[in-house]
Symmetry: C2
Subunit: 137 residues, 2 copies
């Protein structure tokens, strides 16, 4: 858990004004360890916890948090964005049958053999998604 004071500091440090909806959503997002949510998931979860926010505000808040570096957006497949509360460098499993995203709990992953970056460009991020399906065994 994270105290509301800590949360307020977290938001302020990132340059995000701690409004009531942002504090409430921040509590849901950052109060329970690393999470991966879609806008729709966050909305229904918030509503069922008694937080009354519109879906527009959910999107707005997720975007503001992402731009402020509090969340990381993960593209898995068209028409659905996942937001990850773990902004450190790490990779993901994606369970295709369930549409569920998980962190790969291992910081030993290394990618080798990458060619040199094209001239005038630099790497902004490396995304790795390991897609999983049920074992037909």
């Amino acid at each position: 858990m994270m105290s509301s004071t800590d949360l307020e500091i977290k938001l302020r440090s990132a340059g995000v004004r701690p409004t009531k909806p942002r504090m409430a959503l921040g509590g849901v997002l950052f109060g329970n360890g690393d999470r991966h949510v879609t806008a729709e998931q966050l909305h229904s979860e918030s509503v069922s916890e008694g937080i009354r926010v519109s879906l527009a505000t959910i999107y707005n808040t997720l975007n503001v948090f992402t731009e402020a570096g509090l969340l990381r957006e993960v593209a898995v497949e068209g028409h659905k964005s996942y937001f990850d509360t773990n902004t450190s460098n790490h990779y993901h499993y994606y369970v295709e049958d369930e549409g569920r995203l998980m962190d790969i709990e291992n910081d030993q992953i290394t990618v080798s053999g990458l060619p040199s970056t094209p001239a005038g460009m630099k790497v902004s991020r490396v995304d790795i998604i390991v897609r999983l399906e049920k074992d037909a065994e």
Copy 2:
């Protein structure tokens, strides 16, 4: 270039009926080396080459080709799917400023340190996207 006979064989072997639109789109897709296109790009390119197809057919064809294993779909970021004519195992650069996808021309890439796959699951595919931005140098 690929002859229309070869293209027809390619489609038939994949279990895809070689209709007129499919042959025409197949020519655009497979006639010029490895490509990465969005539906919209393929549509406007086809139209400017005098191929009259509706956007619905573009989507339908891309999906049929993908299911038949002739294309591979790459998720880069919300609201846009890229289709790659290179279906072999390889990874991508994504140039963020231009929305352009490129194959990483190197088969030396290896990923090590992956933890064992969760029980009952197997890896269906590993996607790696190296995001590039302009070097601010």
